[in-house]
Symmetry: C2
Subunit: 464 residues, 2 copies
Amino acid sequence: MSNHTPTNNAEAIAELRNLLGDRLSTGSSVLEIHSHDEAHTTPALPDAVVFPDNANEVSGILKICSKHGCPVIPYGIGTSLEGHIVPHRGGISVDTSRMKKVLSVNEKDWDAVVEPGVTRTELNEALRTSGLMFTVDPGADATLGGMAATRASGTNTVRYGTMRENVLALEVVLPDGQIIETGTRAAKSSAGYDLTRLFVGSEGTLGIMTKLTVRLFAQPETVSAATCVFDTIEQAVDAVIMAKQMNIPMARIELLDELQMKGMNLYNPDMPMPEKPHLFLEFHGTEAGVAEQVSMFESVCEEFNASDFKWASKTEERNRLWQARHNAYYAGKALRPGCDGLVTDCCVPISSLAQCIAKTKKLIESSNLIAPLVGHVGDGNFHLLILVEPGNKEELQRANDLAGSVSQLALEFGGTVTGEHGVGLGKRKYMEDEHGAAYALMGVLKKAIDPNNIMNPGKLVTVN
Amino acid sequence: MSNHTPTNNAEAIAELRNLLGDRLSTGSSVLEIHSHDEAHTTPALPDAVVFPDNANEVSGILKICSKHGCPVIPYGIGTSLEGHIVPHRGGISVDTSRMKKVLSVNEKDWDAVVEPGVTRTELNEALRTSGLMFTVDPGADATLGGMAATRASGTNTVRYGTMRENVLALEVVLPDGQIIETGTRAAKSSAGYDLTRLFVGSEGTLGIMTKLTVRLFAQPETVSAATCVFDTIEQAVDAVIMAKQMNIPMARIELLDELQMKGMNLYNPDMPMPEKPHLFLEFHGTEAGVAEQVSMFESVCEEFNASDFKWASKTEERNRLWQARHNAYYAGKALRPGCDGLVTDCCVPISSLAQCIAKTKKLIESSNLIAPLVGHVGDGNFHLLILVEPGNKEELQRANDLAGSVSQLALEFGGTVTGEHGVGLGKRKYMEDEHGAAYALMGVLKKAIDPNNIMNPGKLVTVN
């Protein structure tokens, strides 16, 4: 574990303590919590953690840190997967957990205005009686600020979009402490550069979001979920492509390979399922609409020899099914208890997905590692959970090599090395390959907005 | 008409002539065509017009213009509405009309790669046998480059999105001549700053798009269109809000006021319609799905006293209906033959739309001007066509005042002064009011990417 405390940071901390009193902490357990996310990145302690209550305080914090050239690391709830919130150069971790208000729910406009510390399940809890829902659902119960910062997505994205489509407007504090608003609550606009989309996915390197306006959707009248089993992954992927061609508006369509299913059986022994490639699906619509989607999808599956169709139309059964999917990470780990997990995040055009997965499987085989696969197959996005024995350096190296080869594969197929987890520290090394000359332009933007390079320095983009 | 030819531009032209030969023109009729768009902006001649064939030539052009500090104005087909392509500081108009290739159509991935000079109807022509369609449909048959540059939308946006959602990736030539690629053909990505969305809507002020990857959708199995009549605009808007709350997936829902209907009757005397507020609608889906949508929508309309329901399920009838809607601009002008038209472009949260339109109507009344109204009501976006006698300065002033008041109204209701036309020259004066401190950040970005301010200078954003 590394740590850095230049004198400048100490001066910044003194001023921050004046501003925030006991909402600044240098207690060792607080520093430890803010030293790591859920990734395999080497942890690093911040010099202090601050807990602002509002945008004005965030502005005050950034003015102080700007003056002293002190690094600032925005922190949501610590569930990122590429070391985004690790203070690898020390500095101040800005924890937004006290900014948790749902400020408004606009039922006619299908939007809500929230503070960045609200988590996705907290927002949906607040929406329960409105007939509306917030759809983006990464594996973790992340904060909306963190989800916007990493341009997160999830199992519903195939129908309802990622954070890119679901953040309408932002309040952002810039590195110099200026508070700006980007976008409006109007459904569309051609009024200048799309600053909202620039901050979404910027991973705290350009400023701190202090308010988000997010898009909501109507809760569907009827929901039906299902699982079905295929002989091969190719057949499962081809079934999804055909279902898309037939315009079936799938709300969720998730792929799990035979190894992942084995892990799920170990993790949930009371819910045994065949250890073969599965699709987990969900359909939303009117009663008649869902019935039609289901029957269309069944005809697709017949074509590809799917079997063991199981429908879950009761809410309880459905929740159990999706909880099992959301727990895929832990279920995968059950294949090798006590191990660490390294997660990959390729996303390719769906036409290349089956081929990309086939090549990935060969790479896994020759790596001699255990790596179950789950995928948001409707988006062409899939994850490996590469299992690694803690402390086994040689194995970690092999796991990193495998992750690197799989990332290169995604690029060869015209895709991206990260569909939804983001760049952070872990994916920086692929950025040049993925973006070419455009990566330098990202550096130009970073430098223009954050000339002192205080905002989450060294993440996403490297500036001189 | 103003004109500027600094010596630098003459030197640039000499070098450009070496590069492009007779694909550089200074002929007066060519200059005239590139001096204006469809707006009321004062025309201004470029010093020369160039017709590049590919990205390498565009790169060569920008290197030369960069060296000489010569303004560059990207030109699609001249249908913009805010003076975007007017060379008000002279310089080189870069006409992309020779870059017209549909480079690939990826039927499994639902995307196409095109050059910027392809128009929306040309792309759909190329897609006809693929079962796919490109959905963004502004009034004019604009080029895709122009549509991306202004973040255009149209009648289908309520279901299929604007250019913001429908451009997946770009090839862009930066002001210094560097060619970059932004984004990939993957459905989503978290790999760094969203450069694609930064260039979409940047109106040629940051670079020139030379290739676009756009999203396609499956042509619906069944389409049904309709018109219906309301006693008041409020009732029409409330019907749309209720239909949205009921989750009816309307593909198009357009509002036309009584005055606009009068103009349409003058323009299409063989298609007479009641001169009262109308909704024009379209439903897409399976046969059963469309039937269900239609019956749900009829129940909504009953609630709001709609009458004169007319269904058009034959392709020919539908085309006639939507052609009439697309000709709204000319139909509006028929109310006062020989007049000029000044078009407004407010977009507000839909919950405020009825109130915003009611206030707009009062402003029209007290202005003593004729101004029919059409609206993409599902998006909260509406246009006035303010009719002005050519050469009547007092009346033009009144029209500008009315447009200004309506724009302010949009801001008071939390909306935007331009839902889909863009900023250009005409809307710059509202940018400070709409964006506040965020407008200065746009200037920072412009300066970082185009430090010599050669790209469409003076449009969208003003830099020092």
